[in-house]
């Protein structure tokens, strides 16, 4: 039987791949893990250092046509970049593939994720919804760090080809998010004339009484109207003054932060056009779209000047950096996992809240399974789920036994009761609950981890157990969004 070694310095390799509307990039990094608890304490394994091993150039996202991603093309990029980095897919233990912006709505995005997971290594694959994208970009651009250092309300505005994702932080706490149809590729040009106009922009122009057709010249007044309007809309969004005519640019919910924004940070491809971090790289590619004009409009906008501007640490690579280095969490050190069941991918979470009372909590515990099945496996095809137990009261040993018995009982009511029992515990109780289940001689394998915060609707990937006994976990807050 394996015995965990908590005191050994351990490293894992993480890959981040960002497939955006316009560009695709990849990053390989190495995490150092250490036991940060004192010698007399129960170990606590944390990521103590992150080192970037390789940054790929920025590639154009290969598309077969407007609605289909060229899977072979993406695979080709990944394969050659792994080669250049000197990394075998088998070495990669964690990380995330993020399909962002409008690309995520492309027809074969889901199919591609499955293929990539084989191609890119047996690591964790995630897709981001617009909110998560904004959060990941803010972590990659340095805004998240800066919000902790400065104590100010920092808004990160990540603008790529298709969408602008705003995430607002203060003291490293997320205050809110917002996503808009603002991006470089919303109008594309070819030989000096308009080649495509995206539907949201077409609607905006119609609402505002402008007319722009495919084939119109690149310097038509309607084009500069669009970029100026977009910059103004960003400013209004940051101030939470959403006008009725802005609704057409809004993707999803309205701004939902409460405190007013002090500092703004631009990241993403448009920010590269503003700050030129990568000028030494030869890929000042001709994107032939409104990107540069949009960057210019943002720089010129007077309303945006009311905020303090902070330059990002990363511009175009903010999201991929976030995906590669900020999506992995480490479970608590005292957990119980069946190693042969790992890694587990795309496990939906069902949260059951005990509201600090075991007795009353157990009264309706049975409903948890019914509801989880209704939610995730309505066709009873055997989609397993993880039960997240939150707000447990202080538990004595006899309470744990009572809880474990209840868990066995309700888990046997699943459509496929022989599937592993997957539990995520908010408090530090995973090991004792796992062992108590084992003592009850349950037939199923047990995966019982703790100290990960999730909620109903999240999906998690659980990686292979490391030498120290912990598992890397990637929490995905949303999968594909629909427009």
């Amino acid at each position: 039987m394996g015995v965990s070694n908590f005191n050994k310095h351990e490293t894992i390799i993480s890959a981040g791949i960002d497939i955006g509307t316009s560009t695709t990039k990849l990053i390989i990094s190495r995490f150092s893990l250490r036991n940060v608890a004192g010698a007399t304490h129960v170990p606590r394994i944390e990521i103590t250092d992150k080192e970037i091993l390789y940054k790929s150039p920025v590639f154009r996202t290969p598309l077969q046509d407007a609605v289909t991603i060229d899977v072979a093309g993406v695979q080709q990029i990944i394969r050659s970049e792994y080669n250049k980095a000197g990394i075998q897919p088998s070495q990669i233990e964690t990380g995330a593939v993020i399909i962002t912006g409008e690309t995520a709505t492309k027809r074969n995005a889901s199919e591609m994720l499955h293929l990539l997971s084989d191609e890119a290594g047996d690591f964790l694959v995630a897709t981001a919804g617009p909110d998560l994208e904004g959060i990941i970009a803010a972590k990659g651009s340095g805004s998240y760090e800066w919000s902790g250092k400065s104590g100010q309300v920092v808004a990160n505005i990540d603008i790529g080809g298709g969408t602008a994702n705003i995430a607002v932080f203060k003291d490293k706490q997320l205050l809110g998010t917002c996503t808009m149809h603002i991006g470089g590729r919303l109008i594309e040009f070819e030989n000096g004339i308009v080649r495509t106009i995206s539907p949201p922009v077409a609607r905006l122009l119609q609402d505002q009484g402008y007319s722009l057709q495919v084939g119109d010249p690149q310097n038509a007044p309607a084009v500069s109207f669009v970029t100026t309007y977009m910059a103004e809309a960003v400013a209004r969004m940051l101030k939470k003054e959403v006008h009725a005519q802005d609704q057409v640019l809004l993707l999803g919910h309205e701004p939902n932060w409460l405190q007013s924004v002090d500092t703004i940070v631009f990241s993403g491809g448009i920010s590269e056009c503003m700050y030129h971090h990568a000028t030494d790289e030869v890929q000042e590619a001709q994107y032939n779209d409104i990107g540069i004009q949009l960057a210019e409009a943002l720089l010129q906008n007077k309303s945006l000047q009311h905020f303090t501007w902070q330059e990002p640490v990363e511009t175009v690579r903010a999201t991929v950096l976030g995906a590669g280095t900020q999506t992995t969490e480490i479970s608590g050190a005292t957990i119980q996992v069946a190693p042969h069941e790992l890694p587990l991918k795309n496990i939906p979470i069902y949260q059951y809240d005990f509201e600090e009372n075991l007795e009353t909590g157990l009264l309706h515990f049975e409903d948890a399974v019914q509801q989880a099945v209704t939610l995730y496996d309505s066709a009873k095809e055997g989609q397993n789920f993880a039960l997240y137990l939150s707000n447990l009261p202080y538990l004595g040993f006899r309470d744990v036994q009572k809880l474990a018995k209840a868990i066995v009982q309700i888990m046997n009511e699943r459509p496929c009761p022989e599937q592993p029992i997957i539990l995520v515990i908010q408090s530090d109780h995973a090991k004792v609950i796992g062992q108590t289940l084992a003592a009850l001689h349950v037939k199923q394998s047990i995966i019982c981890i703790d100290q990960i915060n999730v909620e109903t609707g999240d999906y998690i990937d659980i990686g292979n157990a490391l030498t120290s006994g912990v598992v890397p976990v990637v929490v995905k807050t949303l999968t594909f969004h629909t427009t």
């Binding site: 015995v3 070694n5 304490h41 129960v42 004595g396 040993f397 006899r398």
Partner: protein
């Protein structure tokens, strides 16, 4: 004796007494004044107070809970202008937020406010309460029914009472002769794991946590198929009493669940000391410990579950403490 001398001495004594009583009458108003400080009716030497509260190196407390404006203004009379456009009011709020954030991260008494140059009454009473709890923990007794419930019998160290326990750690490290024969009589010989409980410096720690840690540890060892000896309780024991027990019973591993020296954060924290083949002459570096087992630290049930895996490791490497770390790497 010379009468003159007697007179002289008497005079000196009287003078001394007078001086003493007059200094007492001098002290009384200052005592009064201190009390008045809290009732917000300062009388007399206000300027003395000012002098007291102004030294630059003085430790200051500032409130984070109530009376926000008044306290903040005493701490920071001039709001910093370096922040630029931001108004001073949200800044105060954010400072409050920050202190609240810090308080969440530590049980230490930070940001608790002050009254004049002293802690506030509430803070002071809490401190006194925590201190009293610590003292009680040392002098308290483990209830008999707890030991009965768990089926533990009780033996004594060579210490006679609590005072001696504190003064003579060496005696707490030895078993009394009766205890030795009782252990010989009742315990399984040469078990793989011998578990021992002791009140140590906190009976409260045993009362609150022993059952959960013990039952969870027992289950963990059962799951791992590790044999357990006959568990018993040592009254007024020290950690190294495990050496005596090791000699008597010859176990592979001794686990000692013992009450920690109480502190002001928790008076009911339990430690689990473990040692591979403790015998007379065992060095301290070969003992290892998981401490901080209580409601506010590692949950007792989880600690018990974790101890099982540590014992498994000790048995695998046939070492504990520093030797284990060396063998492991």
């Amino acid at each position: 004796m010379n009468e003159e001398l007697i007179q002289q001495i008497t005079k000196m004594v009287v003078e001394k007494l007078e001086a003493a009583s007059s200094s007492q009458t001098v002290q009384q108003p200052t005592n009064k004044q201190k009390v008045e400080l809290f009732s917000k009716q300062p009388i007399g030497h206000v300027e003395v107070e000012k002098v007291k509260s102004s030294p630059s190196g003085a430790v200051t407390f500032h409130s984070t809970t109530e009376e926000l404006k008044r306290n903040v203004s005493t701490v920071k009379p001039t709001p910093k202008t370096a922040y630029g456009k931001t108004k001073s009011k949200p800044k105060i709020d954010s400072e409050e937020d920050k202190l609240a954030e810090y308080r969440k991260k530590t049980p230490a008494r930070i940001g608790v406010g002050r009254a004049g140059s002293r802690p506030r009454t509430k803070t002071w009473l809490q401190f006194r309460l925590d201190h009293a709890a610590a003292v009680d923990a040392v002098y308290g007794e483990v209830p008999d029914n707890l030991l009965e419930q768990l089926g533990l019998f009780q033996v004594q160290s060579r210490v006679a009472d609590k005072e001696e326990y504190i003064r003579r750690p060496d005696l707490g490290r030895k078993l009394s002769d009766e205890s030795k024969s009782l252990i010989q009589e009742r315990c399984k010989k040469s078990p793989v794991v011998q578990i021992v409980a002791s009140n140590g410096l906190s009976a409260k720690a045993i009362e609150e946590n022993l059952e959960d840690v013990y039952l969870s540890l027992e289950q963990s060892l059962n799951n791992l198929n590790i044999e357990m000896g006959t568990t018993f309780y040592v009254d007024k024991g020290r950690v190294a009493v495990m050496d005596d027990i090791g000699e008597l019973l010859q176990p592979d591993v001794v686990v000692m669940l013992i009450g920690e020296r109480p502190g002001l954060v928790s008076a009911e924290s339990l430690s689990a000391y473990m040692c591979y083949k403790p015998r007379h002459g065992t060095i301290e570096a070969d003992r290892m410990v998981i401490s901080n087992i209580h409601k506010g630290g590692i949950p007792p049930v989880e600690a018990g579950a974790f101890l099982g895996t540590i014992i498994q490791k000790i048995l695998k490497y046939e070492a504990s403490g520093v030797s284990l770390v060396q063998k492991e790497n």
